[in-house]
Each structure stands twice: as structure tokens, then as C-alpha cells.
């Protein structure tokens, strides 16, 4: 049989030294230990929401494992803490809060609005445990996300990158030089140094400082589906809470998310500029300080263009509800590793990546957009505006099938789990429709489903301990 392994990428240039660029550099260097991976600094951009994240999603834990970043290191060196659930306050009306938890949703036939997921019950009781692997154990139904101190996390990643032999990261990008074939030939640094590459990764944030040197390409505009185009990023060190629950509160002018790290509260206030002057919106939300950034919701039609791969906000920009920006970058990074190219260009492979990465991003868009589909919304101009949003066909189908018969249609490359979709439906107050198989059960059996779920939750609750106690015991329990 003829043929050979493809020539491995020899030189890789990664622009951006935030978590997106660093994770890409680490992942690529691990995949190709013989390659030269060079980091190039780009100006820190507060609008790069994937890079400024102070918290992750449960999916991040597996990706961290893959990078060789363990939870212990994050707890001991990056001030990590655990979140089991996100409380949505006022989302479907005043004085109404629902918990969107991680891990398993209640089983089919049990309405998650009336029967919270196990992790939600633990979070409400401020208890915590690490889920065991054995699915027979009730606690295996929970999952958690981590919060970190962003600066410590970035240093942690940078140290790992250096340890693995990733070079550079100290000098700023001055220019990206096209190769005349639709891709890049080299980058020029602030001191005039030129670095060529087989592959360029653009993790520089929304400015896409590498990809912007390429022939212009289409952008998928999401502004008709995701309302927020302004985000105020604020840190409130005095608002300290040790909790397994974060919150998102609906305000008349937008929404405010608070993530309670061990270093204080990391807050985002997201709103729409069409609803009035920015200052008024920020003022109404009660913020004294913070950095205001503008975002243009949407994604690149082709995140991988010629020899340039865009990740993070360079690839897709959207409001940070659920803080999914970094997780999407991670998932797309893993997808890229699945399609890791060689030195020669293979358009079909790129097309396959772009097809799947695009589907993945669109499903994240749908998931965020779902949160605006509540029947009962808060008062205010922002929410009136929300009522006029369009729905993608895929979201419309998801909503119709769930409310029609409690079913979630399958979508390829959906990084959001079925459980998460189900729990988000409960957040917006949407009841699951009656599934035919459940309708066929005797009424007593239907009721028993909920009782079984409650019993399993109660058993798990007894095995969990108060979170502060868990965290205090951590250094000793996991030496």
C-alpha cells in the first residue's frame, strides 16, 4: 500500500496570550511535541470575553484533563471554587427564581420545573461532593464547573506552556503578512522580528489581528437572535461569598451575572444599545465602575481560513450568558485536534472542520437564545425588544418538540448536553410535553417516576457536606 503520514506542522504561531491562545499553544505542543510553537502577544482586549472568563462550564474539566491541568492545581494555585448551579432570578417574572444545575436532569416523565435536578438541590442546601464514576450511586448525577482567579489562571497556563517548550509571548504583534495565496506567510513583531509558520492560530479576540489580514469573508450575524451588544465587565472584590451557586438576574435594562469566586464577585451586565444611552443602562443596573465593551453577536462563516485558525472571540462573539465563550473555544480546539492538518493544505479537511465547528457555534447560539423564549418576561424596554427576536429553525424545532412531547431532537456537534437543554427549558418556565411512552404508563407509575427521583436526590443530599467544610478539608483530603 503506498502513502505516508502527512508531514507534521513544524512551526505554529499563536497570536494572543490569554486563556484561548495559551490553551491552543499547550494543546498543539502536546499533540506535536516536535513542533515549534511560538506565542505572540496582542493587546489585551476586554471585549475578548472568552479570555476574560473567571469561570468555566463542566465540559471544561475534561478539556483541562486533556491539557494536563488538574483540578487540584487549579484549587491550590488559582483559587478555584466549585459551582453546581446557576440561579436565574426574575427571568420569568418578579420574585421568581429557578436553578439551572449541572449534571443529570430529572428523568423523562418528571417535570424539571417541579422537581429540581440533584445538583440544584445540593446547591440550594450549600452542600457539595465530587461525583463518583459509578452510575449506580446517586451522587453520580451531579457535575460541577470551576471558577478561578483569572490572573492566576492565566499565569498557570503560561507556566505550563513554558514548561512544555512553547516559546515567545513577550513581544507584541505588529503586523501579519499575507502569503498571496489566501493565507499568511509570517508575522512581524514589535522589534521587527519575523516569524513564519505552517499554521497560525488567531486567539487575539474580536479584532482577529491575524485573520483580518486575510481576504474578507462572510460573517454570520446573530444580532437578530441574541439581543445584547454591550457588556459591562466589573469586579467587586468586597462581594465575597463561598457558595456553589452563581446567579443571573434579569434587570429591566438587561441581565446581570454574578460569579462568586474566592477572589470576589466577577460580574457581567449585558444589555442592548438600542434601548437607550449606555450610561443610563449601566446606572440603572447599579454599577459604579467597570469596563464597558461593545460586542457584535455573530461568527465567522469559516473559522479556519487557509492556514489561519480563529478561536475564541476571533471566531465567534456573543453575550456571556452561562460564560460559554471559553468553553466553545475549547470544544472547537478539540475538534481542530481531531482534524489536525499536516503542512500541505487540504481544503476538504478544512471544510469538514468548518462545517462542524459552525454547527457547534450555532447550537451555542441557540442555547443562549433559548433563554429569551420565556412566555412571561420581565418588564422593560429590553424585554420588549427581546420579544421581537427571531428564532433559528433549529431552535424553533427544539422548542416545538420539547413543548409538544418532551422530546429533544438530536443535533450533530451540539456541545450542550441534553440535560442542560432540558434544565434550561425549565428556567424559562416551559413544561415538557407529554411523551407518548409516558402517556402510556398507568397514572400511578407516572407519579412513581417523580418519587423515585426525589428519593435519589434525598439520598445524595445526605452524602454531601457543606461546601465551606469540603473546601477547607481539601488540601488534607487530596495531598
Amino acid at each position: 500500500m503506498p502513502g505516508s503520514a502527512r508531514d507534521a506542522l513544524r512551526t505554529i504561531v499563536v497570536a494572543g496570550t490569554g486563556p484561548v491562545g495559551l490553551a491552543a499553544a499547550i494543546a498543539l505542543r502536546r499533540a506535536l511535541p516536535s513542533s515549534m510553537v511560538t506565542l505572540v502577544r496582542t493587546p489585551d482586549d476586554p471585549a475578548a470575553l472568552a479570555d476574560s472568563a473567571a469561570t468555566f462550564l463542566p465540559q471544561t474539566n475534561a478539556f483541562h484533563d486533556r491539557l494536563g491541568i488538574d483540578e487540584k492545581g487549579l484549587i491550590l494555585r488559582c483559587g478555584a471554587s466549585h459551582r453546581l448551579a446557576l440561579a436565574f432570578a426574575g427571568w420569568t417574572g418578579p420574585d421568581h427564581t429557578t436553578l439551572q444545575a449541572y449534571g443529570a436532569a430529572p428523568p423523562d416523565g418528571v417535570d424539571p420545573r417541579a422537581n429540581p435536578a440533584m445538583a440544584a438541590t445540593l446547591a440550594a442546601a450549600e452542600r457539595f461532593a465530587i461525583a463518583p464514576d459509578d452510575p449506580a450511586l446517586p451522587l453520580s448525577d451531579i457535575d460541577h464547573a470551576l471558577r478561578v482567579n483569572p490572573e492566576a489562571y492565566r499565569n498557570h497556563l503560561a507556566a505550563l506552556a513554558r514548561h512544555l517548550g512553547v516559546v515567545g509571548g513577550d513581544r507584541l504583534l505588529r503586523a501579519a503578512v499575507p502569503d498571496g495565496k489566501g493565507g499568511l506567510a509570517e508575522v512581524v513583531l514589535e522589534d521587527g522580528t519575523r516569524i513564519g509558520g505552517d499554521l497560525f492560530v488567531d486567539g487575539s479576540g474580536p479584532a482577529a489581528r491575524l485573520a483580518s489580514a486575510l481576504p474578507l469573508q462572510d460573517r454570520e450575524d446573530w444580532s437578530g437572535q441574541l439581543p445584547c451588544d454591550r457588556v459591562l465587565v466589573a469586579r467587586q472584590e468586597d462581594q465575597f461569598r463561598l457558595t456553589t451557586m452563581d446567579e443571573v438576574a434579569a434587570m429591566t435594562t438587561g441581565w446581570r451575572a454574578s460569579s462568586f469566586g474566592r477572589d470576589g464577585c466577577h460580574a457581567h451586565f449585558a444589555f442592548q444599545s438600542d434601548c437607550g444611552p449606555d450610561e443610563a443602562a449601566v446606572g440603572a443596573a447599579g454599577f459604579e465602575s467597570g469596563t464597558l465593551v461593545a460586542i457584535a453577536p455573530g461568527r465567522r462563516a469559516q473559522a479556519w481560513q487557509a492556514n489561519v485558525l480563529c478561536l475564541g472571540d476571533a471566531a465567534a462573539q456573543f453575550e456571556p450568558l452561562h460564560w460559554m465563550n471559553l468553553s466553545l473555544a475549547h470544544a472547537q480546539m478539540a475538534l481542530f485536534l481531531e482534524h489536525l492538518p499536516g503542512r500541505e493544505d487540504e481544503p476538504l479537511e478544512r471544510a469538514e472542520y468548518n462545517r462542524r465547528a459552525g454547527a457547534m457555534a450555532d447550537r451555542v447560539r441557540d442555547f443562549i437564545a433559548l433563554h429569551y423564549c420565556a412566555k412571561h418576561r420581565p418588564e422593560g424596554r429590553f424585554w420588549a425588544q427581546v420579544a421581537t427576536l427571531e428564532r433559528s429553525d433549529s431552535l424553533a424545532l427544539t422548542l416545538a418538540e420539547y413543548s409538544g412531547r418532551g422530546r429533544l431532537p438530536y443535533f450533530e456537534d451540539d456541545m450542550v448536553s441534553r440535560d442542560a437543554w432540558k434544565l434550561a427549558m425549565a428556567t424559562i418556565g416551559l413544561a415538557p410535553g407529554m411523551a407518548p411512552r409516558i402517556a402510556a404508563l398507568p397514572v400511578a407509575s407516572q407519579a412513581a417516576l417523580a418519587d423515585q427521583h426525589k428519593a435519589r436526590v434525598a439520598a445524595a443530599l445526605r452524602q454531601a457536606i457543606p461546601y465551606p467544610q469540603w473546601l477547607a478539608a481539601y488540601p488534607k483530603a487530596f495531598p
Binding site: G3, A5, L32, G342
Partner: protein, 510 residues
């Protein structure tokens, strides 16, 4: 809780599809669906689908049917894959297994490493790294382990059974679970003149039966969807030209029962060989444009081994499907909805898949011309289309990926233009060794790898990471894997022995 009125479901046809639908609806939707089967004694069962796919186990399990009991009743044997002979070129043989090849290393699929070793001349045939293939070749069988990490869990299995007995077995089951059966031949179909909805059917002799939802399992005739509603047919015979089959059972030979199905390419199609407990099913699927019927019979007689147990029987079909499988209040399931030749044993899968979808999307509040039922129809048709399209491409690959030029038939399929969706998949494989992935439907990465490599479609280049391990280390790992798999295969009981033990267990339990 409000009391729902059961939806009256009429299943038209009592073959494998009809009784599968009736059994599943009666068992899984009691009180929601009221099942009435109209079965005509003079319509024969096609029963080409004697070989199945692993999905059939889920279907049978969800009904709560005991595997051993069901296997005894249908004279079933176990199936670990399909042995394709003479497809890529005359003399070739490869098994498409219900299982994986090797293990992924550092997130790179095994076949890239295998290609690397193959290029260095230090790899055995890829089948040596699949437990399903090795067990099949050795004529052995054991139930897979459920430990995800062990090689002992790296495969699945299906059944080869007597389709003529499978329908009646499910029929008995359906009747036990409350389905009603009427024997008779449908003479006419009554439709609402305003909405076009099917209202009732009239049998020879005048009896008239009405229902809310009609499931057309009338086979190729497609009595409701095709004849009554005239739903257009999408023809795929330019890609899949086989349109006839000659079937002929033979006596079982002495010795081990092969735990796999054979598909042997012949001059104008291919021949199946499906070993059951009591006989062997044989048949020749061919294209009438390239072969006379008499010549097909002669070719089949020449191919089979053992004494013929019946005269050859001919079946006629064409590849393609109805544009929509669910129209108004008529859902076609099985051959009435479409046909893809049984090269990959997909017939029963397609019926069972459609039944499972119908149950998930069942209009529990009745079938109206629009509204909620419309969503059911649209979603059902979307899902069924996707399955048909994917299987179609996979089947075409078996014909197109060949160097055979020994007959006009093979010249045709080798040089024909294939669907773009397949052409792109093949080009991606050739250039990079990658499989275009999807998570829903049939035939995932190992299946495509098995057929590509088995039919000599080798990638020109593959993942650069396969060249990272030291040559000697990789060679050593491959050799260890081969030994481990050979050891696991040889530790399994013979297929016949396993069946005997299973029958003994069943007898003791009973």
C-alpha cells in the same frame, strides 16, 4: 389527568414490518394506541431480511422479549459482521465487523497508526486488530463484556434468523398485548373527499374498517401511500441498479455455523449466504439490465453449497424511496416506504428505526390534517430521509470502490457518477485518512474504515501524529494487540457450542 381517547391504528400488512409495528405499538403505547392488523393470507412475506444489525437487539429488548426464547423460535444464529468477497477485486475477502479496530491512541483513531505500520510492512491485515473479525473467522461467539475499557467490550452482535418466523413470533406477542387481527384482502380504500385523509378500508367480502392512523406495511405494493395517496417515488436505480433477487434455501452443512453473513460479488450483483440453525438462506441480488433471470438462477445454483431445500423464488424491487414516508394519516413502514438492497442487512433496521421514531413522535391526541400532527409528520420524514440517504451512500460505496472490470455491470458501477455527498467523503478519506463523522444514524467510523480498506481504497496520506511513536514501539504495540485479540477470540466457545449451551439454559429455566 384527563382521559385521552386511544388513537385507532390500523396496520395494513402482516409481514416483518407490520407485526414489528403492531408489537411495538401494543407493548409500548398501551391505552394510547389501539392496534388492529389487517393481514392477507394470500400476500407472501418477502422476508429478504434474514440478517440483521445490532439495533435489532435494542428493539427486541425494549419489548421485553427474552433473547434465548426469541432465538429458538426463529432458529436464530449470532452474527458478528458480514464477509464481503470479491468486491474490491476477485479473490478479496474482508469482514465488516460489528465492532472497532484497535484502540485510539492520543485521540488519533487506530487506523492511522495501522496505515503507518502497513507502509513499513509490519502490520497484519486490519481484521487482525478487531475481535469481532477474529471471532467470526474462528467460528466462535461469546456475549460482549460490558466493561467499556476492555477489548472484550469492543464489539456488538446481531442475529441471523428466519424472517418467515420472526413476523409470526411478533404477531403472537402483539396479540398477547392487545392487538387485534383481521384476515382479509383489502379491495378499496376510502378517503375523505375534502381533506384526502384515509378514513377506512374495505375488504373482499364487504367488511369495512376505519381507523385514525394507518400504517402501511403492505410491502412493495405500498397500498396506501403509493396506490391510494400516490406519493411520488424517488428513484435511485442509477446508483443501485440491482432490481431482482433469486432466493433459495439449502441444507446446513456439517461443522461450525459461521457467525456472520456472507456477501459474495458475482457478475451482475452479489449473493448472500445466511446460516441459520436449521438451514442456510441463499440468494442472488442482481441487475436485470445486466443479467437474464435464467442466468441468475444458474449462477446461484452454481454458488450455493449443500442440498437445495426449495425451488428458487424470484423477488423484484427497485432502489429508492417515497418522497415522504408519512403523509396525512398514513405512515409507510418497511418496503412500502422505500427499498435499499440488503447488502448491509439494513431492511429490518429501517423498519424498526421508523417504528421507534413513530412511537417517539406518536400523535397521542389524534391525527389532524394540520397542527401538532403536522410537526410529527415533518420530524418523522426528516429523520427517515436522513437514514435513507446515509445508508444509500454507504451501499453505493461497496459497488463504486472496485477495480473489477470483468463484466458490464461492474464497469457501470465503477465508472458511474456517485452522489456528491459520497464523492466528498471518499475524497476526504483518500487525501487525509479521515472519516466524515456524524453521531446519529447508522455506520460510523469503523464501518467506513472496514469497507474502504477492505476494498483497497487506501488514503494517500494520514495523520502526521501516527509517525510520532518510535517505529519499534508502535510495531510492538500492534503485535501485542494482535496477540491479545487472538487470545480472546480463541477463548470463546464455538458458535454451535454457544447455541447449544443457550438452548440448554432455556430448557432448564423453562
Amino acid at each position: 389527568m384527563t382521559q385521552r381517547k386511544p388513537v385507532r391504528v390500523m396496520v395494513v400488512g402482516g409481514g416483518t414490518a407490520g407485526w414489528s409495528a403492531a408489537a411495538a405499538l401494543a407493548r409500548l403505547l398501551p391505552g394510547v394506541a389501539e392496534v388492529h392488523v389487517i393481514e392477507s393470507a394470500d400476500v407472501g412475506i418477502v422476508g429478504v431480511g434474514e440478517a440483521t444489525l445490532p439495533h435489532v437487539r435494542q428493539f427486541v429488548q425494549q419489548l421485553g422479549i427474552d433473547e434465548a426464547d426469541f432465538m429458538r423460535a426463529t432458529h436464530a444464529t449470532f452474527k458478528l459482521g458480514i464477509d464481503f468477497r470479491n468486491f474490491g477485486r476477485i479473490g478479496d475477502s474482508y469482514i465488516h465487523p460489528f465492532g472497532t479496530f484497535g484502540r485510539e491512541v492520543a485521540h488519533v483513531p487506530f487506523h492511522h497508526y495501522w496505515l503507518q505500520c502497513r507502509a513499513r510492512g509490519v502490520a497484519a491485515d486490519i481484521g487482525h486488530y478487531s475481535l469481532a473479525v477474529q471471532a467470526a473467522r474462528a467460528g466462535r461467539f461469546a456475549v460482549p463484556r460490558d466493561d467499556d475499557l476492555s477489548l472484550g467490550s469492543s464489539y456488538g452482535y446481531a442475529y441471523q434468523f428466519d424472517a418467515g418466523l420472526f413476523g409470526p413470533y411478533l404477531g403472537t406477542f402483539a396479540l398477547q398485548h392487545g392487538a387485534r387481527r383481521t384476515e382479509g384482502t383489502i379491495e378499496s380504500v376510502q378517503r375523505d373527499p375534502l381533506t384526502g385523509t384515509v378514513v377506512s378500508v374495505t375488504l373482499a367480502g364487504g367488511a369495512q374498517f376505519s381507523a385514525d392512523l394507518f400504517i402501511d406495511c403492505s410491502g412493495f405494493r405500498s397500498l396506501l401511500l403509493g396506490e391510494a395517496l400516490d406519493e411520488p417515488w424517488e428513484d435511485w436505480s442509477h446508483w443501485l441498479p440491482c432490481d431482482r433477487a433469486i432466493a433459495m434455501p439449502t441444507a446446513s452443512p456439517a461443522g461450525e455455523i459461521e457467525p456472520y453473513t456472507r456477501a459474495t460479488a458475482l457478475g451482475a450483483g452479489w449473493a448472500w449466504r445466511i446460516p441459520l440453525q436449521h438451514r442456510v438462506g441463499n440468494g442472488y441480488v442482481y441487475a436485470s439490465a445486466f443479467l437474464e433471470d435464467d442466468a441468475a438462477v444458474a449462477a446461484l445454483r452454481q454458488t450455493v453449497q449443500g442440498k437445495a431445500l426449495a425451488e428458487p423464488r424470484q423477488l423484484r424491487f427497485r432502489a429508492g424511496r417515497r418522497r415522504n414516508s408519512w403523509v396525512g394519516n398514513v405512515v409507510a413502514i418497511g418496503l412500502s416506504s422505500g427499498f435499499l438492497e440488503p447488502l448491509e442487512s439494513t431492511s429490518i433496521y429501517l423498519s424498526h428505526m421508523a417504528i421507534t421514531r413513530l412511537i417517539d413522535l406518536f400523535p397521542i391526541d389524534g391525527v389532524q390534517p394540520s397542527g401538532a400532527a403536522e410537526a410529527s409528520r415533518r420530524e418523522f420524514n426528516r429523520l427517515v430521509d436522513m437514514e435513507y440517504d446515509r445508508i444509500r451512500d454507504f451501499l453505493i460505496l461497496h459497488y463504486h470502490a472496485t477495480t473489477r472490470d470483468d463484466s458490464p455491470f461492474w464497469d457501470h458501477v465503477r465508472t458511474m457518477t456517485v452522489p456528491d455527498s459520497l464523492a466528498e467523503k471518499m475524497a476526504l478519506w483518500r487525501r487525509t485518512g479521515r472519516i466524515a463523522k456524524y453521531g446519529e444514524g447508522l455506520f460510523f467510523e469503523p464501518s467506513w474504515v472496514a469497507v474502504y480498506l477492505g476494498q483497497n481504497v487506501a488514503p494517500e496520506r494520514w495523520d502526521s501524529r501516527a509517525a510520532l511513536p518510535q517505529a519499534s514501539a508502535l510495531e510492538g504495540a500492534l503485535a501485542r494487540l494482535e496477540r491479545e485479540i487472538a487470545g480472546l477470540a480463541s477463548a470463546m466457545p464455538g458458535h454451535r457450542q454457544f447455541l447449544t449451551m443457550q438452548a440448554a439454559r432455556l430448557a432448564n429455566a423453562g
